[in-house]
Assembly symmetry: C2
Homo-oligomer: 214 residues x 2
Amino acid sequence: MTDTKQRILDTAECLFAENGFAATSLRAIIAKAGVNLAAIHYHFHSKEALLEAVILRRAAPANQERMKLLDRCEQDAGNQPPSIEKVIEAFVAPAFRQARDPALGGPVFRHLTGRLYAEGDMMPRIIATHFRPVLERFATAIRRALPEMPPEELMWRVHFATGVVAQALRGTRAMEMFGVLHEASNSELVLDRLVTFLSAGFRAPVMKKVAQRG
Amino acid sequence: MTDTKQRILDTAECLFAENGFAATSLRAIIAKAGVNLAAIHYHFHSKEALLEAVILRRAAPANQERMKLLDRCEQDAGNQPPSIEKVIEAFVAPAFRQARDPALGGPVFRHLTGRLYAEGDMMPRIIATHFRPVLERFATAIRRALPEMPPEELMWRVHFATGVVAQALRGTRAMEMFGVLHEASNSELVLDRLVTFLSAGFRAPVMKKVAQRG
DNA sequence: GTCTATAACTTGATAGAC
DNA sequence: GTCTATCAAGTTATAGAC
């Protein structure tokens, strides 16, 4: 990959994560990257295709790792389904591992992922294309880990959990707003905290009011 | 309030919720509202001031109701702090109540709130101005409801919970992506599900690994 | 592959008639 | 209060020289 192309990808990743897709102009990217405007259209075709390239570069390996981790969980568990803790960790860990590796852009892409998850409907095509297979596989694993849970209830919990993951990935700037000191958000501890919080939510007994209606 | 002004507010609310702030042009608003471009600049001063007006119109009464509900919880509980369930419900219920009232714009503003929560850092000034007092009051209530929880851990759980609330408010379009049938998201049941999920997350025992480090 | 130049269009904002 | 007309700047994208 040429140096120019890579610098464009890096800079775009950074600015999309920082300001969002719509609010980031190509000219802001070329200014920070020190490249020519036409170079973007040469290497990528359009602004949207650039975003897709940015996503794919990091999401593809992360999603492969997610699948591999889930494979291993299911092997280790033998005939039984893996616990909800293991499934959640398999899904979230790759993003944190990536964030700790400067060669993979450090925490920048994690922020971008968080933003994309959170905006969600803003770029449904891209999300659906590159995340759907992984998400469906994990949805199945979650169903198997909690076979007693009514499907409708489980769907809602997955929905809620998506919000947690997005928030956790996006980082802690929201917390800083309140002037709270806190540990680095790529700490291993955050992953543990996340798994604890989510697993408890998933395992919570179904409310009677809800269960009666189905 | 003039009819024009109100139509601008309604339409802007709708489009900001649908497409985000940056991606919504003033001309898209005037087209859908059937008003003149200059009218926006006459009634509001700028695009950003329009957003703030949109937010304030709904957030102010909702936040007042949040405070009132929390007051009542604390009265009912006497000397003891109210349970985490009650605190969470006091915070979230007004948004759902508002969403069920067509006179208050129905679910539209709830979607917008969810988006603002989720984008978070995108409009920190507005969020900080209009939500900070409420959030600080509720943070205190949560601390009192869970006095055993180490403050650092609690901060993270509040951070995670913010993501859940944002996701729940934003609605279910992310779920629809997977073709799942589901009940209406302004159902009373969703509120119960949300409270159940979040309370369980908050009450989860602190992991040993985390507790050791503080 | 990289550049300049520019087309073609959209944006937020304003001036001034009515 | 509401309109038309317009500004100045910024946008994505392209054509064509090198």
